[in-house]
Symmetry: C2
Subunit: 550 residues, 2 copies
């Protein structure tokens, strides 16, 4: 399966059904064979409303156009054809009849022959029935120079919004028609695609990237070969600006970035950044999107629409609407930056830090123990992980040794000592275990400050290590030695007893074949049998060192 579709001929109705199930609208009963969606709260006989109805529509495959733009302040209803094919005269007429009251109805039609004719004949029939119907034809595509009939593409969505806004302000039909025609004259759009749209059930045609590719895969201006988002955007903006200059229109602009269907969020973000840079931040007053506004199925491309940021357009496009697919017009500006506060708030390291020789020496012995253990630990880790446990712990030990050497660790008071070790390990040890041990000592330091109990503060640190690391005893980690040792101390036992508990815990890891955390989690169970966890082994050796010298 290439795409998340069921039968190709069910795509349009499925999409509309989902829209109808999640929006405040009513949909023509399926047995009618017509695809009409209308605001649920719309009653054409409501004289008090005095609002012009705004209808749009056309072939399907351009979703969220057009049903996604139905809502207060935008479309009253939409008529959908099948994929890339205009709806019937009958469907358009039925929609007009449903929505058109005293105030009349405006049809917003993209400039394609089928749409013009079918909406046009429906309008003429509706007029014969005494309904006040007008039509505005959107022809914003500038891909083909001096085209007698430029196509209507993503700029159409702006026409929906302006018309809907004016209608919500009870503007008369003739004025809405004039205003939208004025908007159409100020509007230019151009698209580019790396690959064309694929109809459901079909593979996309192999086709070079094209500038000006239409939303039904119609030929573009020419084949192009952009090598970057910058080049792609420049190819689009140059003819767009030429077309606007020819019409004596100038910025600052309201810009629209439309996903033609296949762009990722990240590509659209890059394109928005490029657009702002290439036009210049001061020349983009507002941005609509980037978003899928007028798509062409899964076409991997985008279009840009530019419109001078006149106050009447900005006001209308900024007004709120309940239409679910309108992404909201966003003002643009040069980003506000700030300097993040990265100062070392509590530098636990200092010049000439107070020393307690006994503690200093004990630390040096632990450093030596860890350095000596490197090969053994790496060997254990080679069987259960990625073989760098010893090296990683040695980095930490080296950092502590260097700080002791420089007299920068306060060994007279345990709280700042723990904080200092925490600071060193996160900076110099690296890897998950560096951060984990840093958490242990940082939290223990903070706890000691508050509770004043050495053992309990270490227990608190170990608790935090479990919270953030996600491991618990039995998971083949250093906790399997740490937790029994600290529990022994909490029971008031001696350091020797605690060291024995750590050793027993470390040995027990050799029988644990299920690793739930850390790197061993990715190793087959059989490979773990009989192998002591290197982290637990290191902890046992540290406690043994402490016990032997206390």
């Amino acid at each position: 399966m290439e795409r998340f579709y069921n039968a190709p001929d069910q795509v349009v109705d499925a999409v509309l059904a989902a829209t109808a199930a999640t929006s405040d609208l009513r949909i023509a009963a399926p047995e009618s064979g017509l695809r009409i969606l209308i605001r649920e709260d719309w009653d054409r006989t409501d004289q008090g409303r005095q609002q012009v109805a705004i209808l749009s529509g056309g072939g399907a495959g351009h979703e969220p156009a057009h049903a996604g733009y139905i809502g207060d302040g935008m479309l009253t209803g939409a008529i959908s054809g099948s994929l890339f094919a205009s709806p019937s005269v009958e469907a358009v007429l039925a929609a007009i009849r449903d929505v058109c009251g005293e105030a009349g109805c405006l049809l917003v039609v993209k400039n394609y022959t089928g749409d013009r004719l079918n909406f046009g004949l429906a309008a003429e029939r509706a007029r014969r029935e005494g309904l006040a119907v007008e039509m505005v034809i959107v022809a914003d595509d500038v891909s083909i120079q001096d085209a007698p009939q430029p196509r209507g593409i993503a700029g159409t969505v702006l026409v929906h919004k302006l018309a809907g806004y004016l209608a919500s302000q009870k503007t008369p039909l003739t004025e809405i028609k004039a205003a939208t025609e004025s908007l159409c004259r100020s509007l230019a759009s151009l698209g580019m695609a790396l690959s064309p749209a694929a109809q459901p059930g079909q593979r996309p045609a192999a086709r070079a990237p094209e500038l000006g590719l239409g939303i039904h895969n119609e030929s573009g201006t020419r084949e192009v070969d952009p090598q970057s988002a910058d080049e792609a955007m420049a190819l689009v903006l140059a003819p767009l600006r030429d077309a606007l200059t020819n019409r004596h229109l100038s910025g600052p602009w309201i810009a629209v970035i439309n996903d033609l269907g296949g762009c990722s969020t990240q590509e659209l973000g890059v394109l928005a950044d490029v657009l702002l840079r290439q036009l210049g931040p001061s020349q983009v007053s507002h941005l609509l999107g980037p978003a899928p506004l007028m798509t062409s199925l899964d076409m991997h491309g985008f279009s840009v629409t530019l419109l001078p940021a006149a106050a009447e357009f900005v006001d209308a496009l900024s007004a709120p609407t309940s239409a679910p697919a309108w992404p909201g017009l966003r003002p643009c500006r040069a980003p506000t930056t700030f300097a993040p506060d990265t100062h070392q708030a509590h530098d636990a390291l200092s010049e000439d830090a107070p020393q307690d020789t006994r503690i200093t020496n004990q630390l040096k012995r632990i450093v030596a123990t860890l350095r000596d253990a490197r090969q053994d630990l790496d060997a254990l880790d080679a069987k259960s992980g990625d073989g760098d446990a010893g090296a990683s712990l040695q980095s930490g030990a080296d950092a502590i040794a260097a700080a002791l050497e420089a007299g920068r660790l306060n060994t007279q008071a345990m709280a700042p000592l723990f904080a200092g070790i925490g600071q060193l390990l996160s900076r110099d040890m690296g890897g998950s275990s560096g951060v984990l041990l840093s958490i242990l000592f940082t939290a223990a330091g903070a706890s000691l400050d508050q509770r004043g109990d050495l053992v309990e503060s270490l227990a608190d640190g170990i608790e935090k290590m479990q919270t953030y690391g996600g491991a618990k005893p039995g998971d083949r980690t250093m906790l399997d030695a740490l937790v029994p040792a600290i529990e022994s101390l909490q029971r008031g036992e001696s350091l020797s007893q605690a060291a024995q508990a750590a050793r027993d815990g470390a040995q027990a890891t050799a029988t644990l074949t299920r690793a739930n955390a850390g790197r061993s989690a990715y190793v087959p169970e059989s490979a773990l049998q009989g192998v002591v966890d290197p982290g637990a082994e290191a902890v046992a050796r540290v406690f043994e060192t402490l016990a032997s010298t206390t």
Copy 2:
């Protein structure tokens, strides 16, 4: 070029810069090397606000997460790492310092080791600085049964929203933490992808479709081979419902459909329809999306998140927010349908229609003329179009002949006659020219009703034909004969003179090598040289028939 990117290592900063340029937030200065974005209106020293700050973040590549969720009622700020890599402790700590006031700060963290550790250590450091910081870890992925550390995926966005809503209500930190943890326990998500994410600058790995593929391309539960959107959704929903049942959770649900990055709008619409059908409309209380909420670059896949629709969740998730990427929670219901009004309002055809023998006979002669002309017209069209002009006009003539035969066309009054011809041609002639001629006669009939002038009413019809059809004289269409003929009549000339004008106009089309409308627009200019437009030829013959018999 495969994707709209510039240099691969510029993607993240470009996307964030675009967000910063179009949102009410400030961004850490680029020279800081940290990627922090914070609500512009947030001032942690504002005692009056008394709001808990909500921070989230993680690796990039999941946009719009997390910066898109910054706004009133959602996140206070976001910290981004590089692609698929956790931000540094330093970045998280700087963000906490920036936002955390008296009310404290909640970190919303997806359950990945790197994020847990870096956010965790930052939290511990911040606590040492006296800041009230708590963390909630989201682990909503149910892809791996009994996983000790389930991943955090799209459900995280709901946690952002709940936390932000509660913070906006001045809920204390401990209560927000408890409420979000309760939400996390009720939340289950599962994804599936047809193809994995491709890192910028790299081609995607060839990989079979997978159920439960992680948002960093981590392995899923298993390879799958769905043949339809229905099958794909069923594969996702079954384990999701099992997981929820195991936790004694039941519907109706708040459902989330998340685009993992590469789905078209149409695919997402189909998936939404399928979800509603498979869960049953009554079991889906609300839907979030379908939308890209927590993407994995361009991964072609989707995830579904389910959460019981408890009132406290619905209220929080329905509350407004200014966060640009929040698509809004939408209530679901069975669609409201209506029967479109397709009645024939003014049936211009009737049984025993009044007959004027002279007009009836004239019409019959025109029918004969068009039938006789078929081969000539098809031959002309073969050179300039698709060769069916004669056949198409004959269909129209046949329809008129049949209606005359059945006595259903009123030939005593021209207004209903025009209306009747308009009705017949749109239904039975087909193609653009059928609709165009229908517009001509429908509009002429309406005009005749109003203005009472036969020639002017036809001129009005021709005017409408130009408006909707988009062609004008000189475009190699039937207008090149129609317009001169009607202008002749408007000048008060005879039918013979009008016929001559039509003939001259038709002949002149042989010298027009530029076709701006109709099918000839797609034919090379050289092929048109010397070829009379078949539509104009038909019009000339009709006027000649009229002139010869009047």
